[in-house]
Symmetry: C2
Subunit: 373 residues, 2 copies
């Protein structure tokens, strides 16, 4: 099938770029002696995860139980659910632990070990639990030098039906770095904070089986991973306009776009409207701190070349594009097809039911996206 | 089932509020002598549309062909697809026209009538087409006094396989009005511009079967609808934090919320994190022009009362909430459940597969959402 034959709006996935991104990261992490546990929340797709985990042990990170269920059914046996677990999710976590060789949870709360242990004991299972540490992002996690950073592992170790799996962090604040130097400093900090935290625990005779870190910007820039067991980047598999603006990749590394058609043109205002709106793209504002004019996505032609146009405004099913001059305007008629490189590929992918897989200019496959919770 | 038993995050729909909102608008539009053709893009749900169209003729407006297909299958026979049609959608439009008594399209482009007519002629069908007029929103539509506003209807009338169904507009700029006076003025303008446009066409012997207008703010505030055939509000059925901030409704008219659980708490920062993130809520910034601190949603308790807390930041599966003091913080533990009143109910609903229908405090049903395109 050709791009001209697909219904719009829909996702187009450049599989050659996905393979290249997968290989580069697998090589980079492998060469540094760490295992790769990619975050599949970016794509929620079994076929993509298979490409990502080649040459590693097949471990993955998920952001929802819907991802966990789907990936477990498809043969992934080492799954980490990387949102802090809360009591409303205990029963489903126990079910999942029965379907996987290893299904790990994370916590940063003093009360959770006892509550989870009681439920696991009654269910007759043992559960793997990581301590989440805050390396400076300040979204979740305990401070690395806090009393909780010792007390939570102790409580896990003292629980009959919990196993202390190790410590884990995510340097999400790397998305706001402005220079490569800043990124490198932050990547080193993410690594070194965790190595020191593990040393403190080990010095108190608390074994730390795994030190797990990662974000696409830090793993891309870090100088070495000595002492780190696993890395959990996610976005690198697709990249997006945000990452390209940040310098984590080139624009020609971006693998995901939204195929869209022009539905309206207004010569007086030099404006066109696409059928890719807020639902097809998401309303993520992208790298607006770095580029106030980034809008909601770059308008590419069908071959993936930047037309220079940007999505300036979004409503539910409309994406508005202001063009710079008559000549640009004249390239578009109602029905002209374009591809939109979205700001944030993770959120854009989650809006859709499937990928149309593009290889050498043609659509060769359709891969499902595991949405929901 | 009780709210405590649902998996989070998920949608909770207060059905008593939905019924009240449906009745009020149906009465309002009916009393003014117009027909109601609600826009189902807000909910994408057959059961909700049935409540909305009671006492009217069952006509609906859709924003996607996925909605059109699902609603046609469920017995809705008068459907208007209110995004300008483009050639890539002609074949599916023709299929849909065979499944409905009336399936109408809209256009604002001089080239479309001939292209669409040719395809309809070859398929052996006749298609209904509205002219889209721009009453000041400047998203789509032709200027009401432009040459195109006469020429497009003429071309439709001259086409063997097209029927000119009338003229249509949407005052989407009403969402930016700051006072009731401004809203009333804009609502009158939306109506009067269309009546004048119809008069011009009729004076040239172009029959205008239908004048169709509408948005939730303008239909809520307009003083009369004399001369108007149908109204197409959509958001009123759920309302949301944006509409309540604007004054289109009270906060206790808002019918849709996202049930969510606390997954993290940070006493030092007086912060909690919910499992309702950018995917569960959408990243719509809401009434940020009117209330810079509106964040991404209001945190309600399980009974739907405002806790005063707001979602300040969103990542994919995390919603961060800063609390004002220790006392507020102490109300929340990991596992505490809340309901989030989102900024923009249309975008929030479209993130989910179904509604959990709440009646008198219990979940009594599950209604599917027709996503996709």
């Amino acid at each position: 099938m050709e791009l001209e034959e697909l219904k719009t709006p829909c996702l187009v996935l450049d599989i050659e770029r996905v393979r290249r991104n997968a290989e580069r990261m697998a090589e980079r992490v492998g060469a540094q002696g760490a295992n790769l546990r990619p975050h599949v929340k970016t794509h929620k797709c079994v076929e993509v995860a298979r490409l990502q985990t080649r040459g590693h042990n097949g471990a993955i990170t998920v952001s929802t139980f819907a991802e966990a269920r789907a990936f477990a059914r498809q043969g992934f046996t080492d799954i980490l659910y990387a949102v802090p677990v809360e009591p409303g999710k205990f029963d489903e976590a126990i079910e999942l632990s029965r379907e996987c060789e290893s299904f790990s949870l994370i916590t940063d709360d003093l009360e959770i070990p006892a509550l989870l242990n009681e439920r696991a004991r009654r269910a007759g299972v043992s559960l793997d639990l990581f301590l989440k540490i805050d390396c400076g992002y300040h979204r979740c996690g305990v401070e690395p030098e806090s009393a909780e950073a010792l007390e939570i592992p102790r409580r896990i170790l003292d629980s009959s039906n919990l196993r202390f799996r190790g410590i884990l962090t995510h340097a999400g604040h790397s998305y706001h770095c402005r220079t490569k130097e800043e990124l490198l400093a932050l990547a080193r900090h993410e690594r070194d904070v965790m190595i020191e935290a593990a040393e403190r625990l080990r010095s108190l005779n608390i074994p730390v089986p795994t030190i797990s870190i990662g974000s696409t910007p830090t793993i891309t820039h870090v100088d070495h991973l000595d002492g780190i067991d696993e890395a959990r980047p996610g976005n690198y598999i697709f990249f997006d306009a945000f990452q390209a603006t940040l310098g984590s990749c080139g624009f020609d590394d971006c693998a995901l776009s939204v195929l869209s058609a022009v539905v309206h043109r207004d010569r007086a205002r030099l404006k066109i409207v696409l059928d890719a709106g807020a639902i097809a793209l998401s309303k993520d504002r992208g790298a607006v701190e770095f580029d106030p004019d980034c809008g909601y996505g770059l308008v590419l032609d069908l071959q993936g070349r930047d037309t220079g146009a940007r999505i300036g405004a979004l409503s539910q099913e409309h994406g508005e594009v202001l063009l710079s001059d008559e000549e640009s305007f004249n390239r578009f008629r109602v029905g002209t097809r374009v591809r939109v490189l979205a700001n944030h590929s993770c959120l854009t992918a989650a809006q859709h039911s499937h990928y149309n897989v593009l290889e050498r200019g043609s659509i060769v496959d359709r891969w499902e996206i595991q949405r929901g919770w």
